[in-house]
Symmetry: C2
Subunit: 432 residues, 2 copies
């Protein structure tokens, strides 16, 4: 008999709920595709990693290590970096930001954990419009002990934010005696890449205020909007801004996911005090903070960086949707971020999420392309997949061609397979 | 009426228990002493920050930013850095270390939190031999929800590790129905700077095994031993090494506290899985990891660094004890680390920890010297203070001279004030 683990129940729960996204990432990265060296290698379109702007960092002069960079600093961020981030967030979303309202921690994940833990005790709930960012389960609930209540939209809502669904979920939770503390969402949205309209965000803030709950808005894609609708920060639309807590980070807009630098903005003094206390457990290295301070110190360079980022994300999104379209794969066009939301429902081998899981496995096994199934994002209906396109165009083309060919050979629903110039049709390449 | 805070009870508890050490640090750093510009400024001998080796980092060539340094990596540390740390820990404490048993997180604080959370559910207990590292209260209990049970030594135990005290506390806890999961200690010790004898560590491991509890050993000063007794890692002495979880970091031995890079070593598969899952919330920037990889990559340089660190810490400790001695202030000589343990019991204005608190306040107000009272370290008897000496010799001399003069003017117990050459006697300088 295997002895029972001696670890805590809270840790065992976390291990059991380890995010599928992170696991898929490292599996797909272990044996990467190379056109010559490993033509049957893996292509990772599962991770929302923005690799389109790495060259823009190459000009950054390395900063010699100073004594100051090595020493203790306030564990919620150096005043210099917070001042720069405050200015940057104001530029992105409108309205001034006080650096004292910013709490820097080791990534947006940590910032979400800090927000959830500051607001919730174990058993209290957070309402999440779905589909939602797949790691919300871990980020918001993993350490805080909060539980997530999905607010699925009606089919007629399409891919827009459905405030009635949130309102209905809040009403039902109250009826059922569930102690809801907050609504949490990604804005711009992930996985769908939707930019929420200011009117929708205002309605959401009103609904939350009506039910007496706070809002946690993950605005990590604030600077990655390439569609016509500009980004609006939730902090600018609420009647009581102290009830809005926003998260941002350097991972997406600056393509620096490894730096694990995220920030929580909150004007509520109690939440801020709690967040500062929690930041003690997840600080960012002063070494990296010094580098990020240098990065933000040149406004002209930041403006150029962002313009390039938006232009490249938009072009990459356009190429990816054109490829999918050429194979007859429908998708919901995105306006922001690294991913799009593709509809493979017509190819499910059997109904429901069982069919989605089987199709996902088949795509992995037969194409070595990692894309993530909608179930990982609490998609309300089966068959949707998140496709990340923010990497080298040739890799995206190879991956979507493999995917398109597989679906074409499966024959449904498009028996007349398209033959795009970029992706000549043919049997799926056998992969070992 | 002030409205009740809307933050969680778990966050409010953390805010209320915010570590005194961190608060004292930033207060003392705000208006620092300068011989010419601010002669009445603050001198911070309260923080165990090793500033004696900063010049040794200045030769480090800054590393140009590569794409790899910016990207996602395993959130418990890159394989490269963990391999280097494994080799380094083996060099420090004897016996090989498997890099797969290392979980890198954002500082030793985070590593202690990870260990405690992996082992304990809220309400379970950790036994702590006292005096102990003052931040254990927050690091081990703040997020995990564990409670700490002090194991105070008998007066006759002196400053050595008292295994009988730990054994007695474990026995009493079982009798009282307390669910103890671990014993935690700093080894080498903090605040006393004692290097624990291998026999004591073996006895401790046996006692813990007898009671069926794990050991969490904070070995952050492993490379900062300047006394004759070499460091022995607890991982090398236990019959069942899987029950020993050790913590190390770059803050002390390498004088890089701002880098917030700590590591948990555990060979227990369940604890390791739990620690990796928890590391997701407190990762270290790949940028800083790359720098630390470079730092450890040159064994000859690391050996020189450590030899210098030990030599400088030893010299600094000798200077500090000589100054205290010249003023007739007794202290327990240290063999490791950044601090010594000074006995000001004779100067307490009234008995008990009330007297200690009043003396502490008087020292702060009248000398602007920050040293921390024993109560912050769960000292079993009042009157002891932790004095950190690992900073510029002139600053230590200024601080201890101010302290010595104040105590001299207080007149008890040494009415004949000493007149050391380094610290001419005279009235305490009035401070604003």
């Amino acid at each position: 008999m295997t002895p029972a683990p001696r670890t805590s129940r809270q840790a065992a729960r976390l291990v059991a709920g380890s995010p599928a996204i992170a696991q898929a990432h490292f599996r797909a990265e272990a044996l990467p595709y190379h056109p010559r060296l490993r033509p049957d290698g893996w292509l990772n379109l599962g991770t929302a990693e923005n690799r389109l702007v790495q060259d823009l960092h190459e000009g950054t002069p390395p900063r010699p290590l100073t004594a100051r960079d090595t020493r203790y600093a306030p564990l919620y961020g150096t005043p210099e970096l917070r001042a720069h981030i405050a200015r940057h967030l104001a530029d992105l979303g409108g309205g001034p930001v006080d650096p004292e309202d910013l709490v820097l921690v080791a990534g947006a994940t940590a910032a979400l954990d800090v927000a959830a833990t500051a607001l919730c005790d174990p058993g209290q709930a957070i309402v999440i419009p779905t589909p939602c960012y797949g790691a919300f389960d871990t980020d918001l609930a993993g350490r805080s002990g909060a539980r997530l209540l999905p607010a699925p939209p009606d089919a007629r809502d399409g891919h827009s934010l459905s405030v009635p669904a949130v309102d209905r979920t809040l009403t039902e939770a109250r009826r059922d005696g569930v102690d809801v503390r907050a609504v949490a969402l990604a804005s711009p949205a992930n996985p769908t890449g939707q930019v929420h309209a200011p009117a929708d965000l205002r309605d959401l803030a009103e609904a939350a205020a009506h039910h007496g709950v706070d809002i946690v808005a993950d605005e990590i894609y604030a600077g990655s909007v390439f569609g016509p609708l500009p980004f609006t920060s939730l902090r600018t639309v609420a009647a009581d801004p102290a009830r809005i807590h926003t998260v941002w980070g350097f991972a997406k807009d600056f393509g620096l996911p490894g730096f694990k630098a995220g920030v929580l903005h909150t004007t509520d003094p109690d939440t801020r005090a709690a967040a500062r206390a929690l930041a003690y457990f997840a600080p960012v290295s002063t070494h990296t903070q010094a580098h990020l301070t240098d990065l933000l110190a040149d406004p002209a360079r930041v403006r150029h960086f962002h313009a390039e980022n938006r232009r490249r994300l938009g072009a990459s999104h356009a190429r990816a949707t054109a490829l999918l379209d050429a194979f007859g794969i429908p998708c919901a066009p995105a306006q922001a971020g690294c991913s799009l939301w593709a509809d493979l429902a017509a190819w499910l081998p059997c109904p429901g999420f069982t069919g989605e899981r089987r199709l996902w496995q088949e795509i992995l096994d037969r194409t070595h392309v990692s894309i993530l199934p909608g179930e990982a994002f609490h998609a309300p209906r089966p068959g949707w997949f998140r496709v990340c396109h923010s990497l080298d165009a040739a890799l995206v083309e190879e991956a979507l061609t493999r995917l398109g060919r597989l679906l074409t050979t499966k024959g449904a629903p498009h028996v007349d397979a398209p033959h795009p110039a970029a992706a000549p049709a043919g049997p799926a390449r056998p992969l070992v």
